[in-house]
Amino acid sequence: MRVAIACLALALCIAPAESLAQQAAQRPNIVLIFPDNLGWGEVGAYGSVRGVPTPNIDSIAAQGMRLDNFNVEFSCTVSRAALLTGRYAIRSAATQPTGITQWEVTIAEGLKSVGYATALFGKWHLGGSNWINGRTPIDQGFDEWFGIPNTSNEAQFTTTPGFDSTRTPVPYIWEQKAGGPATKVRVFDIASRRTVDREAALKSVDFMERNARARKPFFLFYPMTQVHFPTLTHPDFVGKTGAGDIGDAMADVDYNVGIITAALKRLGLERNTLVFWCTDNGPEGRRPWRGSPGPWRGFYNSVMEGGIRTPCVIRWVGRIPRGQASNEIFHELDIFPTIAAAAGADIVPKDRPIDGVNQLPFLEGKQKNSNRESVLYFTGSQVRAVKWKEWKFHYAFQPEPRVTEPPLMRLFNLRSDPKEESDIKDTNPWAIGVFDKLVADYLASAERFPNVPNGARDPYEPPRRP
């Protein structure tokens, strides 16, 4: 009898644990590849203005959906914050000097809470200048990471004339596992800048293999450093495309994507893995590495379409119908809720405004329209423009960083005027009211749930609401 009771008790203890493990094993893997400063015009599936083939990226599009109206925030750090939290970066006070607070809940934290293995290999840029003290990827839900804590132009530091390591820290490539300290791998300079993405791809493969063997679902975040300046690519691709440094780097990006997708195929994980390939903001604008925005106008650090409309292809074999292309509005904010829905996991926070929406039914072809019809574009604390359906209203028109041209307030119809050239607000007086209302809705939510203040330290707690 005693034995029977003990067995029953043991069974009751084990059952929930097994159930959790089974649930975890059934969830799809998530691979999120996120190149840097890579514009619409560089990708084969989007027309490839330089003619550099990108068969691996194109293949993701062919096996799933190509989004032609994928929207992002206008610059590196704010875009990463929006992607990983599902919140406009203005809400989390994401900036290069400070990153985001530990109070933010990321995709990695959410997926980890339901049994996923999580890893970041590549560029972080959400920890600020003091990232090592509590703002590493580990502090935001990743089990392990390898790469650069900040951004790619730091690779130029040590070869810049007059560089003084006593005044400016030498930048490094780092790695870390949960529970352990961050350790230096090697100096991040022009030589290692060329190879860091390849290393990150190979570490990604190792991570996927380990978790495939363990039958554990994984979230792989591979934020590539290319084609951010200095756009100096892997030695294997230098001069190979005849399309300059950007063309060579694009070939390198595609090659590294192929490493990931080939591993998924070899491991038999293609059908059970949701793959995103999308870029953080519009093309690099700094010479001599100016990228291409394709048919749009503008570069990153602006809210012109070229700066905030980027390539995005998504694949989930057996779930997302093959060969789709859509001009429906999608935003990087939507990726968190969409992943949550794909994983069948209730992991999107409910105690704060979430600007992303679940787009899985749209991706799966269960509905024709996306679940989003508007986007707000911020620079700093400024609402600079708003997109609603095919209309885009600029409150402060600025075609390039630091360049303003009156009138500041302009309205464009993006279908008839994709380059945002002919201001038609005078013949569409309705616009101001409709766009003001969209901004007012945001302002009302920010009043109810105040944005994290700039420079907030950890531990951050939001003010109590009455």
Partner: protein
């Protein structure tokens, strides 16, 4: 018949009223003074706003007054575009005027009526808005009140009624003589 009589009545009132008091003349070439253009009212929090919808007639305009109509012309295209200025004609007798503007992606059709309110010439225009969730494009009203200020500058106060649940907004633009 009733319509004709009422139009005739309005015309007579307008004429009588014009004859009874010296109305300001808005005729001439005008250039907007952007330093004073500002939003004067909005239903939402406008703290974010830096631009201005202005008058709805661009930065440079010409007004011609004829016995039966007022003509407003303004620059919409650049010189390189080789397109004529936008031309809007408004009947002075209070009857409905129809204007159509080709703006590239569609023709903007407008129906307008003029009236005097003291020394302000008020143009009330019906526009067609964007399609809502029900697939219907609502009609809405824009009211432009033209006055001359003490310095002789043309002031156009434009009130745009909200559509699709949006607030009504008012802007004021001032133009100096060219």
């Amino acid at each position: 018949m009733k319509r004709r009589l009422s139009a005739l009545g309005f015309g007579l009132i307008a004429l009588a009223s014009t004859a009874g008091a010296q109305r300001p003349s808005f005729a001439g070439d005008w250039v907007r003074n952007d330093s004073v253009a500002r939003t004067v009212a909005t239903a939402g929090d406008a703290a974010f706003r830096r631009g201005d919808m202005s008058s709805g007639w661009g930065a440079t305009l010409t007004i011609r007054e004829r016995p039966d109509s007022m003509i407003v012309e303004y620059d919409f295209f650049s010189a390189y575009d080789l397109q004529p200025r936008v031309r809007l004609a408004y009947a002075l007798d209070g009857s409905e005027s129809r204007n159509s503007i080709m703006i590239g992606h569609a023709e903007s059709a407008q129906r307008a009526r003029l009236s005097w309110q003291d020394n302000a010439l008020v143009i009330t225009t019906q526009h067609v808005g964007p399609k809502g969730a029900d697939g219907r494009a609502p009609s809405y009203e824009v009211r432009q009140a033209l006055t001359l200020d003490a310095s002789g500058a043309l002031v156009v106060e434009t009130t745009r009624s909200g559509v699709l649940g949006a607030p009504t907004t008012t802007t004021r633009a001032q133009y100096g003589r060219k």
